[in-house]
């Protein structure tokens, strides 16, 4: 239920709706599309990446001297969990063909393909449960150029334009060319795609698409695909071993400098395990839980960028880690769901963002960075936002107009999850708009890969959100679900192929010494220990009394890892 003071603004949204509905029924855009110059203006003026202090130069590692997102640079300029170097690596606790770090969509796809095509065994190590990943949470859809009016090269052009032409062409080709095959493979595994009565796949627009190519599973595509992949992974315990609550904390190299596995940490028993693997795949997802620029996030609990820092310490190069995606429509009211994702499919189906006066101020489906920046501009520069009781600002997302465009019942069927979610707070989205504001959503960059998911470090493969280059500097809606499928499968295929012809030498953690030396040489003073693994949301006063745990400089950094250096901090606290 909305507070009384919002009634006037809500009335205006209702008042302008018939006029906006007429616009929505026409085939022309409901609001003029931005030119290249207008896009640049709004991005430079209002995108959070362009705020003062949002980026800085990283002082160590393979990307030394490059400008990165500040929180990412902080994350990289940190100490390893494994301070003591006298670890005996000669007797690994686990040996496997592939070690897959991360149990989301990319990791599961990789394990299945490595098994089916290469006959390779995998260990999937994940910090929470299998499937506790951003993959589980996607709502709106997956892009694939399947319809007769569309083509994979057109998908290529849309994706590369959306990414500001920074995308690596070979990756975009792989992404768009594999897409229809992914649709078929998922259907054969049992994914229930939305279809027309005759079996044609339903397609909608997403931000930045020039053809309707957004496939969907109502508003639950993530759960649908993720649960299918998990179920299939669980069908093959003889080939795929799943280690839950066992995050990796460092990669292992061998004496030839190849990636050769990782050290895992058992969160229950606080044991460490040495895993020797012929090839290693990082599929650890993104970094939303670093709360970059203080933003709320749509991301799952474990999205702390662990793969980035482990790969970086081992010598892998990162790409476009200066670019962060803010989803245009995160919820801002009620407070309990602040930051939660409101699917872009709402705008794909005709939903409109409007200001406090009920007026359109941007085309509803600009690429995400442009759309998000336009919303921030409307609030900050044009005073078009509505304040919530807790002090947030948002604009309206007119959802009821969707039923008027598509027929009664459309919202309840296609956005059942959102309907249910808001009814809990006595807001009926078939009748009332909702308040939204951009929310930290996606890591555009990551570890640089080629179309075989190889990195500059032999034996290390990366797939999904942890990788960089596919989306350039801005990802379009529906290309991340596609990404983790396409590149998860490719990682399984090519890492499997590599593993079949590789013999690992002696294991080593010497890269950690070199990294620590770099920190010292650069005179970097930090108490931060990474990977972060889990954020902490304890209140500040509680954290202060958590003497064993409180040393981190990043907001919400893990309380767990600091146990390794407990004595020192305990002494300091006293």
């Amino acid at each position: 239920m909305y507070p009384e003071y919002m009634a006037e603004s809500l009335r205006k949204v209702t008042q302008t709706r018939p006029r906006r509905l007429e616009l929505g029924k026409k085939s022309d855009p409901v609001f003029p599309l931005m030119t290249a110059a207008e896009r640049n203006t709004v991005l430079n003026g209002f995108h959070p990446d362009f705020l003062a202090d949002a980026r800085r130069s990283v002082r160590i590692g393979p990307n030394r001297g490059e400008i990165l997102t500040t929180e990412v640079a902080d994350l990289l300029e940190s100490h390893s969990w494994l301070k003591k170097r006298n670890i005996d690596l000669s007797r690994p606790h686990i040996e496997t063909d592939l070690l897959i770090i991360g149990g989301g969509g990319a990791g599961c796809s990789a394990a299945l393909v490595a098994m089916r095509e290469q006959g390779m065994r995998s260990v999937i190590a994940t910090k929470l449960r299998l499937g506790d990943a951003n993959s589980m949470m996607s709502e709106g859809g997956m892009q694939a150029a399947v319809s007769r009016t569309d083509s994979p090269p057109r998908h290529y052009l849309d994706a590369i334009g959306g990414g500001h032409f920074a995308n690596k062409p070979e990756l975009v080709k792989a992404l768009t060319e594999d897409a229809p095959k992914v649709v078929k493979w998922l259907e054969e595994l049992g994914v229930v795609w939305d279809k027309e009565k005759d079996g044609t796949l339903q397609v909608l627009h997403g931000g930045g698409t020039s053809r309707k190519r957004m496939l969907s599973c109502r508003d639950h595509i993530g759960a649908m695909i993720m649960r299918t992949l998990m179920d299939e992974v669980r069908n093959h315990p003889e080939m795929i071993t799943v280690k839950e609550f066992m995050p990796a904390v460092e990669l292992l190299l061998d004496d030839a400098g190849r990636c050769a596995g990782a050290i895992l940490y058992n969160m229950d028993s606080e044991e460490f395990f040495i895993v020797k693997a012929k090839a290693t795949i990082i599929a650890t997802g993104g970094f939303g839980r670093l709360h970059i620029r203080g933003f709320d996030t749509t991301n799952h609990y474990g999205a702390t960028g662990d793969g980035l820092v482990m790969a970086y310490r081992a010598g892998a190069k990162l790409l476009y880690m200066d670019s962060v995606q803010y989803h245009p429509t995160g919820a801002v009211f009620p407070e309990q769901i602040a930051g939660f994702l409101i699917t872009e499919k709402v705008r794909g189906a005709g939903g409109q963002p409007v200001n406090k006066d009920g007026e359109l101020f941007v085309f509803p489906r600009e690429p995400r960075d442009v759309e998000a920046s336009a919303i921030i501009r409307e609030c900050q520069q044009n005073a078009g936002g509505i304040k919530t009781p807790s002090g947030r600002t948002g604009i309206w997302l007119d959802i009821p107009i969707i039923d008027q465009l598509n027929g009664a019942g459309y919202i309840k069927h296609h956005f059942a999850a959102h309907h249910h979610q808001f009814m809990r707070y006595k807001i009926d989205i078939t009748q009332e708009p909702i308040l939204i504001y951009p929310s930290l959503h996606y890591q555009n960059g990551g570890v640089e890969i080629n179309a075989r998911c190889e990195t500059n470090l032999p034996g290390l493969y990366v797939a999904g959100e942890a990788s960089g280059g596919v989306h350039g500097k801005n990802r379009l809606m529906g290309n991340s679900v596609l990404d983790y499928n396409v590149f998860g499968q490719r990682a399984g295929r090519y890492a499997g192929e590599y593993a079949r012809q590789t013999q690992i030498g002696q294991l080593s953690l010497r890269h950690l010494d070199a990294y620590e030396q770099e920190l010292m040489d650069a005179a970097i003073q930090t108490e931060l220990v990474t990977p972060i693994v889990l954020p902490s949301y304890a209140p500040a006063d509680v954290k202060q009394r958590q003497w064993l745990k409180n040393s981190s400089q990043l907001p919400g950094a893990s309380v767990l890892h600091n146990r390794l250096h407990a004595e020192a901090h305990f002494a300091e606290s006293l």
């Binding site: 949470m137 083509s151 334009g161 900050q380 947030r392 889990l534 902490s536 907001p555």
Partner: protein, 241 residues
């Protein structure tokens, strides 16, 4: 942290809730004062716990945070997802992060989309006594018993539709007196539906054939050879559907 209008997460920026309203909840029996507007998950974290099991997506999709609770003197046991259920004064709660259940191992290619698949994988379904406890314990308002009945009939489409939004939190199977593992039946049925009962898409089949035959290679090669400027021109000049 940087200043960004209206986007600061209070918990992430380490500021304590300043609203006056507090309620007392009992987390596994221990009294804690928490903000009245908190979700159960927010309350547990406000009390200083680091959740390891019992939190996943935090938005109601993954089912990691199943919780049972009672309020005040009410005899009823209630259920909810900790991430989306609000606290109430006098709530006494515990999380149930995992419910034991044996997933059947199967080859989807060897099953048929009818009652035989249920018989082979989860015959326990036939023990259902139609007591409706599962439906009453579902935090997502899914008609669980109705889809269990559909499973007994082998109506795969009906199971898929009724259980579409199941988050597999496991609360139904925890409370089921017949010890049925409902969420596992749900995922099996969805897979059977997608694999066998969903109508084929002719345009998908044709597109895959085109790609495999190399139909788009020339067009890709041309696009990939363009300079950034001409690619940009091509992009902004493209028509839209």
């Amino acid at each position: 942290m940087g200043k960004t209008t209206g986007a600061i997460n209070p918990s992430a920026s380490n500021t304590k809730d300043t609203s006056d309203g507090k309620v007392t909840v009992y987390i596994m029996g221990k009294a804690c004062e928490v903000p009245a507007t908190a979700t159960i998950m927010g309350a547990i974290e406000y009390a200083g716990h680091q959740i390891i099991r019992g939190a996943g997506c935090r938005e109601g999709y993954c089912g990691a945070c199943a919780t049972i609770y009672r309020v005040g003197n009410d005899y009823k046991i209630r259920t909810g997802l900790a991430c989306t259920t609000l606290v109430e004064e006098g709530m006494t709660l515990t999380q149930i992060p995992s419910v034991p259940a044996e997933k059947a191992l199967y080859n989807i290619e060897k099953l048929q989309p009818n009652v035989s698949a249920i018989q082979q994988t989860y015959p326990v379904v036939f023990r259902c006594v139609a007591c409706n406890t599962c439906t009453r314990s579902c935090p997502e308002d899914i008609r669980v018993m109705d889809y269990v009945q559909a499973a007994k009939r082998g109506d795969i489409t009906e199971i898929m539709n009724l259980s579409y939004y199941c988050v597999a939190c496991g609360l139904c199977m925890l409370r089921c007196p017949a010890e049925i593992t409902q969420p596992l039946v749900s995922i099996l049925a969805k897979r059977l539906y997608g694999r066998y009962l969903s109508k084929n898409s002719p345009e998908l089949h044709d597109r895959v054939t085109e790609i495999v035959s190399g139909r788009y290679e020339m067009e890709y090669a041309e696009l990939m050879a363009l300079t950034s400027d001409s690619l940009s021109q091509r992009y902004y000049a493209r028509d839209s559907e």
